[in-house]
């Protein structure tokens, strides 16, 4: 899967949790979920569970800890997809 495809899927997943719509419009690799999108920190775990469902992968605790930005998330997802 290309990074572009992945980004578009990720955007759909995070959309309902986003409280800063401007941040979503300017979504880039450097976007931080909490700082730029104002996603409630308690909802980060829900984002990760939705990612697992969407891509059919399981993300371990270390992976979860890393998934705070779009870039890091794409890396973790690509990594898990590759080892599937």
């Amino acid at each position: 899967m290309t990074n572009e495809d992945l980004l578009s899927k990720l955007k759909t997943i995070i959309e309902p949790y986003v409280q800063n719509q401007e941040g979503l419009q300017n979504l880039s690799e450097n976007t931080n979920f909490i700082d730029d999108l104002e996603i409630n920190s308690a909802n980060l775990v829900d984002v990760i569970l939705d990612v697992e469902d969407e891509f059919g992968i399981e993300i371990d605790n270390d992976g979860m800890d890393k998934m705070l930005t779009v870039k890091a998330s794409i890396e973790v997802i690509q990594d898990k997809l590759a080892s599937k």
């Binding site: 949790y17 409630n40 308690a42 909802n43 775990v45 829900d46 569970l49």
Partner: protein
Amino acid sequence: MNRRVVITGLGVVAPNGMNISEFSTAIKNGSSGIRYIDELNKLNFSCQIAGKPKYSKDYLNNYFNNVQLKGLNASGLEYGVIAGLDAWKDAGLALVDKKEDPIWNAGVIFGTGILGVDKFREAIYKVDEGNVRRLGSTSVIQTMASGISAFLGGMIGCGNITTTNSSACSTGTEAILMAYERIVSGKAEIILAGSTSDSGPYVWGGFDSMRILPRKHNQNPTTASRPMSATASGFVPGSGAGALVIESLDNAIKRGAKIYAEILGGHANSGGQRNGGSMTAPNNIAVRECIEQAIINSGITANDIDVVNGHLTATTKDINEIENWCYALKRKGKDFPYINSLKSMVGHCLAASGSIESVATVLQLKDDFIFGNINCEDIHPQIEAIVDKEKIPVKTLSKILNIAAKASFGFGDVNACIIFKKYS
């Protein structure tokens, strides 16, 4: 002189009405909300009927945002939020913008017995499968008892006390009383008070097992709930939520709010599970004391009471309750006030019963009517021996009313009684 306290908003989610307008019409017409629930049949319940609010999932979009709706599986939370936000809106109050300060003098006291049992069941399955990591963020907030006050307080933006009380079937009446006391003491100006109760087999099952639910009405649901009747055979389980915006009179006048009724006072106590009281039965002395103290606390006399909305669940304890009212009010026969039980139409909504029934009581005062007790054509002879038949109307009466008493009693031998008055 105590600060005067009034009711400025109402909301309800009941088995026979999803809002105040539907509910008001239903109770005037004697419309039952009890129906057959196939799920209870499949699960081998003896009692396969219940009072359950009816609405489509789409309806929730009016109250919850997309994130809140994700994984929402807590019926009591749904009922409570709908009733609570409706009451808030009915009072002419707004939700605080996310960027603003909360309303420091407005709070929430919204009770429940247990919250989100279906969500909890989901969580238990995942945990037992060793899959705790998949619970997500929704498990805790939908199953903590105070989830209901937390959701409402956050949606509105309340900055005063935001809590959930719990005292079994007296929960709703107790919540209103706690709100009243908070305002009388000057610690708040507005409290959204009420209570909610989940629906479903996991809530009702224990009562079915205790054999205190009717077993012979599964084919005729609407005649099953028979408070004060000679043929009463147990309470029909119910669910829903009631909500009342309780406010200081000063604040209500200041903002030009409409006023439904005044709360004169009330009392809550316990029989301590002594003198015949137990986990499941009331200490009669405590029940009488609760009613008497509520009257004293309200600065009225027992003779001022026009109508009583009883707890009256449709078990043999109804006789006991009527005897206690007679004793506490020192009134009987033709001198007894009018009395009714909403449970004839909606069943016993457990933790939600006190608030839903208080909403009905306040509507009676506001619109000058006494709703009829359905399924009570055959008054129990022991009740008819002490209260004149005309005081237990089976059809709705038009009556100018001034003062109404509402009481609820709960497992744990706990009691609560409130005195409402028409506002003037």
